[in-house]
């Protein structure tokens, strides 16, 4: 890509995102002497990414379609505020090739791959064709949208059941259907098509062999505009619920240096074949025989990039910005060394005791962990009202230690310190996973978490359940005795006490 490679100096970056990633990007800008510009919807005026920004501009009403997805407004703000570049973060417009193109047309550097590479690798079917050209193993199956049910049947017969139907434009588990036998294919094909149409505006689906109990392993790549491309080792993201990653780690407990090199070199080949630049991730499935299969490419920074940063000692966002400035990568492949182990938990506003239902609302208490080996990329603060309009991710808590065992112990320690009051979160759910012997032994695959959720919830928090209830009873008595009405009641005749207790304590 020599045409892209003119050095340019970036002085101001508009961050076209919100929450923890917007703050993380702003921090990187400030560390590089670049002015970060924040944008916000009406629901986010008091969000942490706005409070920590240098400049901040309103986009529009709360719905993402009227704010964070409004490429036109973002470009207007970039122009009027004098931004040289836009960083899209993840989600929202980060994989929108039209937006990337509009940025370049406006003379504003889009910090990510060129639109052409995004189009080439963003469609799952086109990416499968690219994988074939790059000589990268992929799951058996079609590399084009299925034209008809008959074609689906013939591909399935060829590769053998069980198979997986997937939306070509897919993501987040939508438009996906596992099919174990011929008889179920028709209804699954139709359901997947209509779900894909609804979710992505395209009913293209394709079919691939279903890998049993696979691990999700992904390779981080970084490519500059001078033809250099590196792989930064793998991340294991097998702990998923409904195809959404819950815990990520680096390195994977089962990837050998030799396998890492093979997967890494395949990933680099794919990226280079499509003229890819900047940060990207190639996702693979790994079966229990150690075979890996290309799954898809994410043409942006990933949520879970911190675990790679901790084990490589690098800062991916710094490098993204330097690449976008036209600089050559300051490292060679042999400089990349993995040291230690990192685990990330995605802290969500959701209620694991109530079907993981989202729990927006006001954060009334916040005690955050710290100390050795703990990194938190966080988008919340005490008093912040988590809006109901966006993704429920509050924070990414990351633990780093010399070994996987120590990193898990450290994360459990940090989770014990963490208190989020006012809304429900999945903090206790992480304690459960991290205490599970299968997780601790790295006996995980993409179905692991759903299986764990079918088991009864064993003890995994500090002290016994009985002991905690005992303490809770004493604490409750303390707080109730502090209530003005109760305090009065204690010195009043019984009837008054009775009504005070009713008024104050009897929520049923």
């Amino acid at each position: 890509m020599p045409s892209h490679a003119q050095p340019r100096t970036i002085k101001k970056i508009l961050i076209a995102n919100r929450g923890e990633i917007a703050l993380r990007l702003a921090r990187a800008c400030r560390e590089l002497g670049i002015t970060p510009i924040a944008v916000y919807s009406d629901a986010d005026r008091a969000a942490l990414h706005v409070l920590e920004a240098d400049e901040a501009y309103r986009l529009g009403p709360a719905p993402a379609s009227e704010s964070y997805l409004r490429g036109d407004l973002l470009l207007d703000i970039a122009r009027t505020s004098g931004a040289d570049a836009i960083h899209p973060g993840y989600g929202f417009l980060s994989e929108n090739a039209d937006f990337a193109e509009a940025c370049e047309r406006a003379g504003i550097k889009f910090i990510g791959p060129p639109a052409s590479a995004m189009r080439e690798l963003g469609s799952k079917t086109r990416a499968r064709q690219a994988a074939d050209r790059a000589g990268m193993p992929r799951t058996p199956g079609s590399t084009k949208a299925l034209a008809s049910l008959d074609e689906a049947r013939s591909v399935a017969a060829q590769i053998g059941y069980p198979v997986m139907l997937k939306a070509a434009a897919g993501g987040g588990g939508k438009g996906m259907r596992a099919v174990t036998r011929y008889e179920d294919l028709k209804s699954a094909f139709e359901a997947a098509q209509s779900e894909a149409e609804r979710a992505f505006g395209s009913n293209e689906v394709y079919l691939e062999k279903l890998i049993e109990r696979p691990r999700h392993i992904e390779i981080q790549v970084l490519a500059d505009e001078h033809g250099n491309c590196l792989y930064l080792g793998e991340r294991e993201c097998s702990v998923q619920r409904r195809h959404q990653k819950v815990i990520e780690e680096a390195p994977s407990a089962v990837v050998s240096p030799e396998l890492r090199q093979r997967m890494g070199e395949a990933a680099v080949r794919l990226a280079q074949s499509a003229g890819y630049t900047n940060a990207g991730t190639i996702e693979f499935l790994l079966d229990d025989a150690g075979n890996f299969y290309f799954l898809e490419m994410n043409t942006r920074l990933q949520v879970e990039h911190p675990v790679t940063e901790l084990v490589t000692g690098l800062d991916l966002v710094h490098l993204q910005i330097r690449i976008a400035q036209g600089e050559p990568l300051p490292l060679r492949q042999q400089d990349i060394e993995l040291r230690g182990h990192a685990v990330e938990c995605r802290i969500y506003a959701e209620d694991p005791d109530n079907g993981f239902f989202p729990s927006p609302g006001k954060i009334t208490r916040l005690v955050q962990p710290g100390g050795p080996g703990i990194r938190e990329d966080c988008g919340i603060y005490d008093g912040w009202v988590v809006p109901m309009d966006y993704d429920p991710m509050l924070s990414k808590l990351v633990a780093y230690a010399p070994t996987r065992e120590a990193a898990i112990a450290r994360m459990l320690r940090a989770l014990d310190e963490y208190v989020i009051g006012g809304i429900r979160t999945n903090l206790a759910f992480f304690r459960r996973i991290l205490s599970d012997p299968d997780f601790q032994a790295a006996r995980i695959d993409t179905g692991y978490l759903e299986r764990l959720l079918l088991q009864p919830n064993a003890e995994c928090t500090g002290g016994s359940s009985e002991e905690r209830e005992h303490i809770a009873a004493i604490a409750a008595a303390f707080f109730e005795s502090q209530r003005p009405a109760a305090a009065v009641a204690a010195t009043q005749p019984p009837s008054a006490w009775k009504s005070a207790a009713r008024a104050e304590g009897l929520h049923s």
Binding site: P358, G361, A428
Partner: protein, 163 residues
């Protein structure tokens, strides 16, 4: 001050006097050192063990956060306990359907006067890109619908009444 604290269906009688260095739970005397750090955040040293507890008050009643667990409780008035229980157990009167979390109403599936089955969907609420169907707690007739699509609701808001 004696208080009856109900946790997970079990009532404990706690004798707690602010400033005292002991408390008793179900008659058992325990050394205690309590220090309120700020409103709703308490440090307890119970028999040498250190605990930081947080009071949470919400639409679904008060709860204590302790050692990573959220433990809801209620304070019982001993004299009215039995009657309350008897009352709560009854399925006869009108029952309200409450929002279990804040969100936006996206659909109302019934209208006043409709006959509904137990567990039939009544209102669909959306928050953070997920939809939740709130169901009727019993068989009966919709007496009232208090929300319409587009409304924003808080946790605990009554959405409809079934009788």
């Amino acid at each position: 001050m004696k208080l009856e604290i109900e946790i997970a269906g079990r009532v404990r009688v706690v004798d707690f006097t602010p400033g005292e260095t002991t408390t008793s739970v179900d008659g058992l005397v325990i050394p205690l050192e309590s220090r309120l750090l700020r409103p709703g955040v308490l440090s307890l040293l119970v028999d040498g063990r250190a605990w930081r507890v947080v009071l949470e008050e919400g639409a679904s009643g008060p709860a204590i956060l302790v050692a990573g667990e959220r433990i809801p409780y209620s304070v019982n008035d001993p004299r009215s306990l039995k009657t309350r229980r008897a009352h709560a157990a009854g399925e006869d009167g009108p029952r309200s359907i409450k929002a279990s979390m804040p969100g936006r109403v996206v659909r109302v599936l019934v209208k006043p006067g409709d006959a509904v089955e137990a567990h039939e969907g009544i209102v669909v609420i959306e928050a953070m890109k997920m939809q939740n169907e709130l169901k009727s707690p019993k068989q009966g007739k919709i007496a009232e619908i208090r929300v319409k699509p587009g409304d924003t609701v808080a946790a605990g808001d009554v959405l409809a009444i079934v009788e």
